[in-house]
Structures are given as structure tokens and as C-alpha cells.
Amino acid sequence: MITLENISKTFANDEVKTQALTDVSLTINEGEFIAIMGSSGSGKSTLLNHIGLLENADAGHYWFEGSDLYQMSRSARQKFRASHLGYIFQNFNLIDDLTVYQNIELPLLYQKVAKSERQQRVNEVLERLELTQRQLHRPLQLSGGQQQRVAIARALVTRPRVILADEPTGNLDSRIGAEVMSLLQELNAEGATIVMVTHSPEHAEYCGRVVEMADGTLINNSAKLATAN
């Protein structure tokens, strides 16, 4: 479904240059659950952000089902991003001033979904993630695990085909972390493609494939379920 070809990225900050990605190529098939692992600073988040189109590569190609995303216009990419990709972050990234319901509704608002459908879809995910009771709370009134569930709900509400998660369990204790992992596994079973960055080998167990990074390159790109090439 997704093919990255020779992606390179250098950050230039005040004289210091960091080569965060060097010639990275990766293929992600529909329905896969991939874990990206590696030591801190190895470029995992940068790679994920490239997959999530939050970062622009210096060189390389990005194919999504045959279309070259880097050739698309800014606004077309934006549209693609909003409708195909969902994001989950380590620190949840919820808007503190909005309620749970409003946080989850936000992506639909920006996609200009009609009000009745918005209601229906938000309620659907609220139920699914057992947040219905909490819909009028504000994020800061919730526990970490609940907050992450809200973030997952927000990622799900647009029905994305790919979910990108950057250390989704990093800020959670192990019991809650395991809950989140089984939730992601469930979603994967229902057909969502998931790419997740994690430090935890235990959580990587949930994934069908593990990709390892070091110094901005993939050192092991053919894990257990190698289907590429």
C-alpha cells in the first residue's frame, strides 16, 4: 500500500547538521501491524512523521497505492492526510479547553462532515472506547490511559486506513499499556494498517513485523512476516 523509496532527511539547526534519515526504503502492506524499534535518536519518529506526511523529505519518493504523494500539491496532500491517516502520540496531544466529545469531533469538523453524521460517528467511537460516560469531561480530568483512549478515538473517528502511533504506551504504566496494545491489535484485526514506534519489545510482540533502526537507516527490514520484494 505504502512504498517509501530512498528517503533522506537532514536537519540543519544553527550550524549543527543532523542526518536523521539516510536512504530509507520501506514497504507497508495493507493490513500490516508494524513496529519500529531502535535506540533513542535513531530516527524512528522522523521516519514515522515522514510516513504521516508531517515532515517533508529532502530526497526520495512516497508512493501510496500507485500515486506519487510528493508530486501532489500541498492542499491535495493535506486532504489525503486528513482522510487516510490517523495519529496517536505519546503525550496524547489533546486540546485541554475542549471536552472529550469536542476533541473527538474536531477532525470531522475540519472535514466538513454534516452535523448529524458527526454525532453518529463520534458516539460510535465513544461507545467503542467506553468513553460515553466521559464525553463531557475535559482531558485534564482524565487519567493517562483514558486520555490515550480519547486520542485513539479521535484518530479512529475519521475511519483512517493507516494509523500512525509514536510510542503510544510511553507515558502509561504497563497494565494500561497492555490495554492500549490489545485495542490496537483489535483495530488491526478489523483491517486498519498500523505503524507504531515503540521501545518495548513486549509491545512489539503484538505486531506482525518489526523494523529496526540505527543512525537513520533500517538495519533489519525483513522481519518475521517479510512480504516485501
Binding site: 512523521n49 508531517l54 515532515e55 492542499s75 493535506q78 492526510r81 486528513a82 495519529y87 502520540f89 496531544n93 489533546l94 486540546i95 485541554d96 479547553d97 475542549l98 474536531l106 477532525p107 469538523l109 475540519y110 472535514q111 466538513k112 479521535r154 475519521t158
Partner: protein, 810 residues
Amino acid sequence: MFWHYLHSALLAVKAQGKYTIINILGLAVGLCATLILLLIIVSETGFDTYHPQHQRLARLEIVFDSMDNTQVAAIAGPMGQLLVEKGLVADGTRLTRRTLNLRVGKRQYLEPNVVFADTNLADMLHFDTLAGDIHQALTRPEGLVITQSTAKRWFGAQQPLNQRVMMPTGEPMQVLAVIADLPRNTHLQLDMIAGMASLEAIEGRGGLESWMRNDFYTYVRLADHVQRQQLEQRITDLLSQPIQQIVPDFTLHFVLQPISDIHLHGHAMNEFKVNGDARQMSIFASLIAVILFIAIFNYINFATATAGRRAKEIGVRQVVGATRSMMVNQFMCESLLLVFIAFTVALIGMLLLLPWVNTAFDQSLQFSMLWDLRWFIWMFGLFMLVVLGAGFYPALVLSAIPTLAALRGAGFKGKSGHWFRRSVLFCQLACAIGLAILGGHIYAQIRLIEQTPLGYEQQDKLVFSDIDSRELFATLPMFSQQLQRSSNIKQVAAAEFIPSQQHGNVVSLRSATQHQLSVENVLIDTVSSDFFATMGIKLLAGREFLPQEHELSANATSNESIPVIINKTVLVALGYSTAKEAIGQQLTLGWDPSFDTVNLGRIVAVVDDYYTTSLKAPLRPMVFVTGNVLQAKSQLVVSFDAGHYLDTLAQLRTLWASRFSSNFPRYQLLSSRVSALYRQDRLGSNMVNLFNLLALLVVTFGVLGLCSFSAQRRLKEFALRQLMGAGVLDLCWILGREFLVLVLVAWSAIILPTWWLTEHWLVQFMVHVGAQWWLYLLAPFLLMGMIALVVVGVVKLLGHVNLARVLRTE
């Protein structure tokens, strides 16, 4: 979607808490000042546009090139008619104004605004007729048109139509039409109108036919697409011929003053009333620009400074699919909301302040003006300008923060943001300093004008005005003897015109000995004996009039000479080298420039020049006579010992009843009459300075916002410093030094432009103050003082913060 924007905007406004309040208050103060200025401008513009075809209406005015370019708002009677006859203008109508004593039933009314007009008046100028017909009323010799409030004054609740009114000469008049009071926005001033035929009946045809009596306001309707300057030239060619036949070396020209320009640009002699001031309007307009600039940039500065706090929110919105334009919309919506709140506060503030502005600055701003369409358009324009001006830049900048950077918490930081805010603050501070220096000079200049001697003494003199001339001059000798018996009254004198009053009569003078020399447009005043001593005007040579000379002059035939006193300007114009030399010399007084009607005069004294009105009007040639009373009303001046104002008044009151048949007259201190002459200037200067102060206040709000924000951002640093023993002063210095340095930089940058502007403004005055260097020093200190206050206040507030909690939460 709009509701979501609005909701988010409300949340953002709420989340910023006290910063929002500072921001809104600063904006509201600026907007309130702007709205008041705007209302003044709106109320002062658009005068006389309600007349039909007002673009084609103009008033013909005359400029005497050979008399200091004196411009007179009225021209001679036959001139307008000749223009219409020769086809130079499409139509014309004349108005002339008199002060008359009218009798209504048994009561006498002194009416200062009686206008005589041509019958076609209403065809050219618009009046709201409430009853009767203006045209018909003016055609009939007894016809009289009165305004509604005159009708109420004269007749109370009675029906005014067909009521009788008696002219001073005994001709009966009849009210044939009633018009509404003139609207606020006209340069005209009249309480009643009669036809020219009635004027003829009172004064004869002489005035109407004279080419020399510039007494008729003449309004003309121009043909379509006419070149005004060319037409003025043709009018000058046509109309100056008959005058130059009478006085060959008279140079003059005519100007057409568009009717809608009269209020702001008409400063000729004999205007209907004191007109507005276009220059003041442009000063106000520039003040609006400066205040708006400061207020808008406060907002921008603040919005970008607080961006850091909102970075995460911005990033999240982008990540869940908000496009750039959606983000721009949201920020615009926020500024719309903020500006709307500030605007509402400003409007309420303006409404509350309006009565105060009216009394403090002698304005006549009315709530009804708020319904003026022009005001609405301006206000809406202002609102949109502020929304767009304040909102657009922050919206553009904030929406452009890259998603990941925003998520990481980076706002509009880094070098560019900091420098941007610094440069803005630099401009604001420079404006504030410049305004303070400029305002100080304006104030000093007005003070100087007020204190410059006018050539006579203002202190300890009472002026009793509008007393019947004949009775006053006849009774004065006895009256003054009686008065002077009292210990605290020094001197008593009478005159048709006294200093501080616009002089109305002019003659021409010709030296009998130095044949070629003559002076035109010499102000003539009839005064009693002791007049110069009473007024404290300096005699350069000769003596005052003697009491008996009053009778002699009054009865003199045209070949007997009457005693005259001239001023220094006449002395020089007639070619005398010393004042002594002129004493005893003969001269001819021509009551018209052609010297058709003359009196012979003998110079008995020369007096020093004095300013008849304010310092703004130039010194004029003047001649004084005694006994030749021209005006119906005259003034009495009493000089008394300092501090004896009340006893003087009491004595006059008791004596008055025994000597005079008329009621006790209106009275005023001469000094307050003089200060009234400068009232407009003083009020204008006060107003400018008030708005300067408001501008300074808005700048302070800007500093307050930035300062408290930066304190909030560096809370942890400050807490640590406090832990390590830093005192309040240390913290103030750390927080405030940046602003103080900025003041110094702004000050050094603005000195030269301010100096240049000040000099340009000052040169327009005949007498003006030099550069006030202390103001250049005071202004930055003033600003630093305000900043210091703000900084100390902010630091004091920090002191209440719980240190332990700050250190824990970070």
C-alpha cells in the same frame, strides 16, 4: 463551522485570562479616543451639503490685495446682480445681516441675527418651511420669515403667522412664514429674514447701490462644468473695474468659496459665525492614525507573543486536519471577537464621555449624530480596519507554524519574532515620545500667545456691553464724575468698540499736508474722554479727547475740523517720522474710499498700536473720533482698584438706576473677554494633549501586556532568582531594562523628526516660542516613569506567587 470558530475564539479569549483583559482594555482606550475624534470630524464635515445642487453653489468673496490680503466674506450690493446680468453665473442671491431693536407687542427685542435677503433666496439655499411661503414673504415689503425658536420666544404658544412686529424705524412687519431652526451643519446664522425692500425702507437705497459697502453675502450658482479659477478671473476683471474707477490704485480680486467649504475653510472677515478649523481636523485625523497604529500593533505584538502558549493547540488542530485557511479563519474570528468586545467597551465609554467632552472642549456633539449614515460607514470601516489590521498578521504567522514545531511547543519565537516585537514597540514608543514633545510645544505656544501683551491692560476692568450709544455718551460725563467719587473706581470711559471686540467700521484717511498719502480700510472708533487712560493704551504724543469735544464733534459741519487721534500704524502710513510732528496736522476722513462724504480732522494725539482682537489678527491702522456715533450700541469700561470687583459692581448698580432709563447691561471682566478670544486655541491644545495622553496610555497597556507576559513565561527563572536572594529591584531591573533601553533608542531616533515637525508648526505664528529643550528631556523620562510603574506592578504581583508551587509545576 463558524460556530466552532466562535466557540474556539471564546475559549481562547477565556484561556488568556488577564492578558485578554489587558489587551481588550488597551484596544478599547485607543478605540474610544478614535471614536470621539471621529465623531468630532464627522460632525465638523459635510456642512451645507443639504442645499440642492450644493456642488454648484459658492459664496463670492473679495480679497483686498493692497490691504494685507484681507478677505471679506461679503461683497457690495450691486456686484452679484451684475454677474447674473452678464451671464457669468447661472443665478445669485444676497443676504445681509443687521442687529435691530424690534418691537413685538409691548416688548423690545434686541435681535442680532436679522437677515435681509433677495426674493429668490429659497430657490438657492434650502430652508424647511413650516408655515407660509418664503418667496411670497420676501416679495412683500412688510413680509417677515422667522424661525421656530424665534416664534416661540416672541409669541409663546400663540400662532405666529400674521403676527405684527415693529421695525426700529416704525415700519410694521408681518410674519408671513415660519421656518425650522437652521440645522447644526450650516455656516449660516439667522433668526429671521425680511426682503431687501424692507432694508430699503429702513436704510434707504444708498447701501444697496454702493460699490464700496461690502455688506452683502452673495451666493451664486455656477453653470455646469465651469472652471472655478477661470471664472474667478473673469469676475475679478468685471467687478474690479467699477471700483478702480473710484479708487485707481486699489488692487483686489474675487474668490468663489464653495458653499460646503465655508465651514472648515472660511476665515474671512465678517463670517456669519466662527467657523471650524480644517487644520485642527487634519491634526485630529493624524492623531487617529497614530492612536490606531499604536493600538493595533499592541494587539499584534500581544497575539504573536502569546503564540508560544498556544503552540500545542495549533499543532493538534493541524494534525487532525485543519488547513491553513481554516486556521487563518479561526484566528481572524478570534480577533473579530476581541475587537468586537473592545469596540463595544469603547462605544459605551464614548457615550459616557460625550457630555464631558462637550463641556470640557466646548463641542456640541450630540447623540443624534450617531444615527448619521456617514458616521455608521466610518465606524464600520474603522471596525473592519482594526479587525483586519490587528488580526491578519498574527493569523498569517500563527497558521504558518509548522505542525511538528507547534506540537513540540515552539511558538512564534526565535530571533525574528523577538525582533519584530521590539521594532513594533520601538515605533510605538517613538510615536508616544514625539507626541508628548509636540503636545508640550503646542501647550507652550498657546500659553505664550495668551501672555503676550496686546497693547492694553486687561486686568481689573469691567466691560458693560450693548448700551444705547446716544444715552451712554450723553450721560457719561455726569455718570463718571459720580462714579469716580467712590474710592475704588479709577476711571470710566465709553467706546463703540473696545479691544477684545471685532471692530466693524472703516474709513479712508488722506493727509491734508502730505497730499499723495492715504490709507484705506482704517478702523474707526468713537471713544469718550479718558478712554486710553482707562484702557491702559499708551499715548505716544498729544492728549486724550476732552469731554466738551464730544458735543463739538457731533455738531461739526463738513468744513469744520474735528479732533482725531491716530495710531502708530496710521502715523507711519501717512509718512510722519515722529509722533510729535503729527500733532496739530490736518487730515481728511473719507467715509467711502472715493472721499465723496468727508470730515476734516485735526490730529490731537497719537497712540501706540494694540491688537483689537487676538494675536492672530494683524495690527490695523486705526483712527479715533469722539462724538460721531455710528453704532446703535456702545460699551462702557470701568477700571477699578485690584480686588474691588464686587463693590464696583454694586456701586454701578445703584448709580445706574438713577441715571439710565434702560436695564442694567450685561457685564464681563475684560480679562475674561480676552481669554475667551483664545478659548478655541486653548481648547484645541488641551484636546490634542488629552489625546496624546491617551496614546501614551495605550502604549503603556502594550508594555503592560508584554511585560506581564514575559514575567509569566520566566516565572520559574524569577522564582529561582528569588530563592537565591534577588530583591524586588533586581527583578524589576531584569524585567524592565529591555524596555528602558528601547525608550532611549526610540527617543534618540525621534528627536530630529519631532524637532522638524515642531518648527514647521510654530512658524505659522507671528509670535512663537523657541524649541523647548526641557520637553525633549522630559518626554522620555515621563515614558520611563510609566514603564517603571508597570514593571514594579508586575513584579509585585509576582511576589504573591507561591514559589514552591512554581518550582514544582515546571
